[in-house]
Symmetry: C2
Subunit: 202 residues, 2 copies
């Protein structure tokens, strides 16, 4: 995982710090973060040094300052528009999730082939898939989530590459590959079968 591991740790620090902030914490120590995330305190301090996150005067770290710095490093201190390709069961669940907006992730449109779902008047408009490439170009879309059936995945990937998308979160079980686009896979079926393996092999 290499670079990925560091980024995932940073995301875990962020989630944890946000939760501590909501409880009323103002400061936190590397030991607290290390215990909760099952890593060593020295790794926490190393990560923070590497990303330019400094400790507070009397020891520990000021939560607010660390959160601002982490968001900057991750590039999520700015707003990011995202589109959802495939407005079915999973697509709709993602389109209406209020948690994205808090992280600066704005769902700007959905795309589908089903006439029953296409509606330009809803708060998040759903357009026909024919309009995908033009919409990506006109609105400078860099991020997309793919929630179409497996047999439509390759076609939609082609259209998104032509439009200029740079990153895709892929929920289909197709093993998509691209030279132009970074693709992260969320394979729910594999996760369940991995759990079945873990609990039956015990």
């Amino acid at each position: 995982m290499g670079a990925d591991d560091k980024v995932y740790r940073l995301l875990n620090y962020k989630n944890l710090l946000n939760r501590l902030k909501s409880i009323g914490f103002v400061k936190v120590f590397s030991d607290n973060l290390a215990d909760t995330l099952d890593i060593s305190p020295s790794l926490v301090r190393k990560d923070f040094r590497e990303f330019g996150i400094r400790g507070a005067q009397k020891g520990g770290y000021t939560i607010e300052a660390v959160l601002i710095k982490i968001n900057e490093v991750l590039g999520i201190d700015k707003k990011h528009k995202i589109i959802i390709v495939g407005a079915g069961r999973i697509g709709q669940a993602l389109m209406h999730f209020p948690g994205f907006r808090k992280e600066g992730i704005i769902v700007s449109a959905g795309f589908d082939t089903d006439p029953e779902k296409i509606d330009g008047q809803t708060d998040i408009p759903i357009f026909h898939i024919k309009e995908l490439t033009d919409y990506i170009k006109k609105n400078n879309i860099k991020l997309a989530i793919l929630t179409v059936p497996e047999n439509a995945a390759m076609g939609c990937l082609d259209m998104m590459e032509v439009g200029g998308v740079k990153g895709i979160l892929n929920f289909t079980s197709m093993n998509l590959k691209s030279l132009k686009v970074a693709i992260n896979n969320v394979n729910i079926g594999n996760e369940i079968e991995n759990l079945i393996f873990t609990i039956t092999k015990k």
Copy 2:
């Protein structure tokens, strides 16, 4: 990831072989699998040897025989009941997904606190969360998917531990830990932010 990596490769072989089978393939060579999954042919042959998967007489592997063997190794040659705790946006999308049944994963019930959602008469009944522990015990449930809000996650984990669940797929962003239960996390927010980091740091 260690043992995980091997299991995820096995799941990738399975997905790929099912797709080849649906196209009409009967046999496949380790080179085909290796190219598609970006691994070496010798790793494919090593994995197959380790799991007792033999090659066909005239070279290559018979797809049907390999699939039967992989399902046996993964423990998915039997049916597995699964419950969904939190029948909201994501929970409902998972409850009605036809793809699970093909893998022998049977969603047997949902659980929620919202009276509007509780209904014992639907094809997949939704019960009140109070009944969770008893239901797990009575129906010998080993697997659950957790799709409740973050603030309810710990409470539901406690109830599932008492009931005897052995594996949980956790969709909340809470970093849940348990000595008695294997927990796999699917953190959609982290996946998107990881993508944002990848495309902004290029």
